[in-house]
Symmetry: C2
Subunit: 710 residues, 2 copies
């Protein structure tokens, strides 16, 4: 269409011309963070190209970077803009999360919304920036308008021009998995290390030798900590970052759908927020609530049914290969024709009545809320890798799992069973069964589900993080809420703070969890990085608490070992924030170390306050957290393979009060590989004036409970 | 894997070697049809390539043709076979359809099942052939076996080597539409005519200059009528035919999924049947029940709720552009935010309370079972072409459609309203709402639904006829049965006789229906071809009965006209067999011709017997059918643009009985374009000895009711 041949268009162009005179085409806007330390500049560069830049205490964080989107089969939203409006405002509120790391959260920012109009297409796009004391969020807004109703994104072209060749904590960019080990390197070294970093996974689609994932944590040579991620990923494709390693410019790279499109948009619509958290203190990154603040308040009128959960589960024995999810050893089954009552059981099926009752008894005895049971339902014989459509029905138990009796038994002991819905990535099949599966859960008293998406997405062509599949996760989450069910999504898209709006999203995996300790191991520094990367988006169901770190002691065929001391496994309940915490080891192993297990029993899963006592990504993290509604505090510290001596100051304790500290620490001879179970427990009286010095073994850490002494 | 390095495999190879000795590698098998007129030969050609050939009365129908499948990422199932078993049997039963063209159907064939083993892969495939008096059906069977559990079809390589350059009645092969005009040409002319034949459609994916659809009707130079199609298309991709126009060999070409795969198979599994119907009498093709017979008996224990339906509907006024489906003229709406009560109505919304009540009154007065209402539900403003996901919710009426009152009103008059579920191809969205949509239907008393799939399949990348989408149609059909709902699927995959197994599939479109008379017109010979092509798979909801064939008389902006005389519109109720028949015109037009309308009121929709009195594809068809459970017969005749004089013999009538024939015929001056409404109605006493001569105008036809005179 040629608008010059259209009289209506010509009139509009006249108006636009007038607006251009009013606003100018190279107009620059500037706003600062509430404390004045961050400065955002927004400029229309030559050709009407929108750009922005960000400084922190006068130091460059994001150099002048382009904004815009490349569209399919139409003029892109990248250039030819004039600024036709701007709005600014300040915002300051304090809100109370349903669950979280602190009792309240302050949401305080200065906002600039710039309306950009593309004369040639008569289209308008708004870019909304929010500058917080701890960083920047911005998003594209596409108002409802005659000339922009439906469009397809070919690629989002948001740049983050960095000020140097930063040290980065990165994962290979991938459309289907986030379960890589973090690589720590300079950005200029990404290309050389990509191949080795791209380790095998049940489903994986790496896309570039310089593509990386978010949250991307970086540290500049002059000591700035910078984290790039996104917030409020709804009805949009998940963003990766493509690195121009000559110019150190990162650019958005969205996950494509089955035909390579990167987003189908109907106006009015907004992109997710693109976030840059920045500080000269590493701990500020950990404490940032910027991603949560950029999400909307909860949509649920009633949240009383959403509760943090501490749980045990029939799980580690399958992960380590000691037991099986499947009930038989058949290799090819069809749910609608197999009769499990006539098939030879394999004798290794873990989710059987006897075993589950042992877990229920243990949970009840030690005060756990719930027992997760995986492998309870039929279909596990050929559950992934086959691109099978009808892989599970989510309602039919194996013959040795009595769903009625076990839920009755659990309820009689005040324990819930956590439902497990592995989908094997067959999303249509899951949606087909979703209503009946949730009705089944309601009927038998389940109030939480762990979902799984192992293997390629079925139908093939889709990716775990494309818009269509992201919409699936969202659909499941909201359907679950209708049934008052909490969701812990594994192999789903990485969280972007959506739990503020949908607080029944109490957990996600979306990174390399403890399970990989059984699949070759995690790096010893893994848990000194995750809080700076994966956890920026939301809590992770990391499943810590493995006491018997040498797997071969109970499964000789598995030579993997947990790259952590036992003491550090305790620390993770504090350092890996989650309202959903598992004591992941088999209960027999806890019975061997009930003294250490006491910390897992005692530690809170919901908090009134959180402090970072010391932190350096890749090296160490020490948190202190105050239990929700109580005077007790808990400290956790994790370090890398070097080991170290941690020096902390308990000045966060209430002055004048006395506390008993129970310190669960590595013994002097402890080592994550050579001597992982060497721990010491000691008690000590402390106050807010106490300073502690604590040894951490290589791959070790410590945990402390601080209970007020009356 | 190298089986020679595997001791188990080596043992099996030894056994296979022995079997080769027993059966030979070039073994040939032969079976004949029950009447001996068809002979099938099956031979393993050099290299262990399976082949077959078919003759009819000694004349070649299918010359030696290869069988097999090309697989993805593994050895194909095309060569290297030895015959390791064969089974033969004869079968003869007579079964009673829930609805149909005759009271009972004879299923009579000789069967040969050849087991083929591929030594190199230790895999087994069976090809099952059934030779009927009217043709051949064969399918691939993949038994459950250790070395063949899951596999992906790259392409099915089933050949149909023809004996000459036949005259063919063909449509462009297309993954997304069947709504093309049939081209009549020699096979050698397909390539040259393909481009012109590929007319625009809301969704279309032609794949080859020589690709055509099934059912493909052909006539050889020596007068053999040959029809190629498929039967029992379940959990498989729909087959097209790729023509090698040098050698006149047709080869199967399956519909690909989003990544180009053509089928994900888990053993045990069977392909659909590939069918070749053959006769030297054209009418035998029309009477063939081979496709139905190759489907399984019904799976439903109770079929009492399935009834043929004669209906009128709020439909033609939107198709012709007189009214609209949408309630407003907004161009961009979101179901979850629009409030229709505050939006300006467009004043052209046809599915309003007043109009629907007029149709209910009309249906009740004239004895129709039901009223179809399209455009009753919110979302039609931007219903297709946008690749919109959440396009309809299937349960929310527009403000001027009172679902409670209208269903009450209809019920009070003994009429049903037929539900309409247009999906715009957004299959996930439909499945998400399917349960609630069917519950809604049950609640308000709807017992039948017309579904629609206009536009590209969403998610993009899938095609209307690929395995994943075919499984969707099947899912809807079986879900509907759970709710005792009958289904009439438009823009869905062409039928393959599945209505035998799932008799709630009472209709399909899957071809160019009457609606195209409003979109430029159908060829005047269209309905002399469809019974030989599209209807071989099952009934079509052709929606005949347009009396006001000049659309411009009520919508001056639409210059299309119906390429048929009014008399022929009546004939179509007999010639276009369907248990679901619409009187598709607006009721005002029927009120202008109540004398002719009487035939539509009288004609049956279910039959005890069917005769073909004369037939030549592309030229003319005359059927006589006996009403179910009654002594009345109905005759319909349709001819091409030439016009003709039809001479028929009423010897099918019961000897000795007297009948009153009411003949609805073209007037001598009638012409489908120039004088379409010129008809004459006369009555005549007839018996089984009567011979009738009846003029048919160009693009005309006639209809006769024969009522026994007591």
């Amino acid at each position: 269409m040629n608008p010059l041949r259209n009289p209506v268009s010509t009139r509009r162009l006249g108006l636009l011309g007038l607006l251009c005179l009013l606003w100018g085409t190279l107009r620059a806007e500037e706003i600062k963070s509430p404390n004045g330390q961050l400065t955002l500049n927004v400029t229309l560069a030559e050709g009407g190209v929108p750009t922005y830049s960000l400084t922190y205490k006068g130091r460059p964080v994001i150099k002048t970077s382009k904004l815009g989107l490349e569209l399919k089969n139409t003029t892109s939203l990248q250039a030819g803009f004039t600024q036709t409006d701007k709005q600014t405002r300040s915002f300051d509120e304090t809100w109370t999360p349903v669950w979280g790391e602190s009792k309240t959260i302050r949401n305080h920012y200065n906002e600039l919304a710039v309306t950009l109009t593309q004369a040639a297409t008569q289209r308008t796009m708004r870019v909304r920036f929010r500058v917080f004391d701890d960083g920047l969020g911005f998003r594209y807004e596409f108002p409802r308008q005659p000339k922009l109703d439906y469009f397809t994104i070919k690629e989002e072209r948001t740049q983050f021009a960095l000020a140097g060749d930063h040290k980065a904590f990165w994962l290979p960019g991938d459309y289907d998995t986030q379960e890589y080990s973090t690589v720590t390197s300079k950005l200029s070294e990404v290309r050389g290390k990509m191949k080795a970093a791209t380790t095998p996974n049940a489903s994986q689609t790496p896309f570039s030798p310089t593509g990386v994932q978010t949250p991307l944590m970086m540290k500049s040579q002059d000591g700035l900590y910078i984290n790039i991620h996104e917030a409020a990923l709804i009805d949009y494709s998940c963003m990766h970052l493509e690195l121009d390693d000559k110019n150190m410019v990162l650019e958005s790279h969205l996950t494509p759908d089955a035909v390579g499109d990167k987003g189908l948009i109907q106006t009015p619509a907004n992109s997710p927020w693109r976030t840059v958290i920045v500080s000269d203190k590493a701990g500020d990154i950990l404490l940032s609530k910027l991603v949560l603040n950029l999400n909307e308040p909860t949509k649920y009128p009633d949240v009383s049914w959403i509760k943090p959960v501490k749980y045990v589960g029939v799980w580690w024995e399958m992960i380590t290969g000691k037991g099986t999810w499947s009930y038989t050893n058949q290799e090819n089954i069809k749910l609608d024709s197999i009769d499990y009552k006539t098939v030879q059981p394999n004798g290794t099926h873990a989710a059987n009545n006897t075993r589950v009752k042992q877990y229920i008894d243990f949970a009840a005895k030690h005060g756990f809320d719930a027992v997760l049971v995986e492998g309870w339902n039929i279909g596990w014989e050929d559950w992934f890798g086959k691109h099978k459509d009808y892989v599970f029905d989510f309602v039919t138990p194996y013959p040795d799992f009595d769903v009625v009796e076990l839920n009755r038994y659990a309820a009689s002991k005040g324990v819930k069973i956590i439902m497990h819905h592995e989908t094997s990535g067959s999303v249509r099949n899951y949606e087909r069964h979703l209503d009946s599966a949730f009705q089944f859960m309601n009927k038998y008293g389940y109030n939480a589900v762990k979902t799984g998406y192992v293997g390629d997405i079925v139908p093939l062509g889709h990716h775990h993080y494309d818009q269509w599949v992201n919409n699936h996760y969202q659909y499941v989450l909201e359907k679950a809420a209708e049934h008052k069910i909490m969701v812990n999504g594994h192999e789903a898209v990485r969280p972007t703070g959506l739990a503020r709006t949908f607080p029944n999203l109490i957990g996600n995996e979306a990174a390399r969890g403890t399970e990989y300790e059984s699949f070759g191991g995690n790096n010893a520094d893994h848990t000194t990085i995750l809080p700076f990367t994966r956890l920026i988006g939301g809590p992770m169901d990391y499943t810590p608490g493995i006491f018997q770190t040498r797997i071969s002691t109970f499964n000789p065929q598995n030579t993997s070992f947990v790259h952590s001391t036992l003491a550090r496994q305790l620390a993770l309940y504090v350092t890996m924030y989650s309202p959903l915490q598992m004591a992941a080891d088999m209960i027999e192993h806890y019975n061997e170390h009930l003294d250490a297990f006491q910390f897992i029993k005692d530690v809170a899963v919901d908090w009134d306050d959180t402090k970072v006592l010391e932190a350096e990504p890749g090296d160490y993290i020490t948190y202190a957290r105050k239990a929700k509604g109580k005077s007790s505090w808990f400290i956790g510290s994790t370090c890398d393979e070097q080991g170290r001596t941690s020096k902390i100051d308990l000045s966060f304790l209430e002055p004048g009060k006395k506390y008993t500290a129970t310190i669960y620490a590595d013994a002097p001879t402890a080592h994550y590989e050579k001597n992982p179970q060497a721990y010491q427990i000691r008690k000590q009286k402390v106050t807010s004036k106490t300073k502690l010095t604590q040894f951490c073994a290589p791959g070790g850490g410590y945990a402390i409970s601080l209970v007020e002494t009356k």
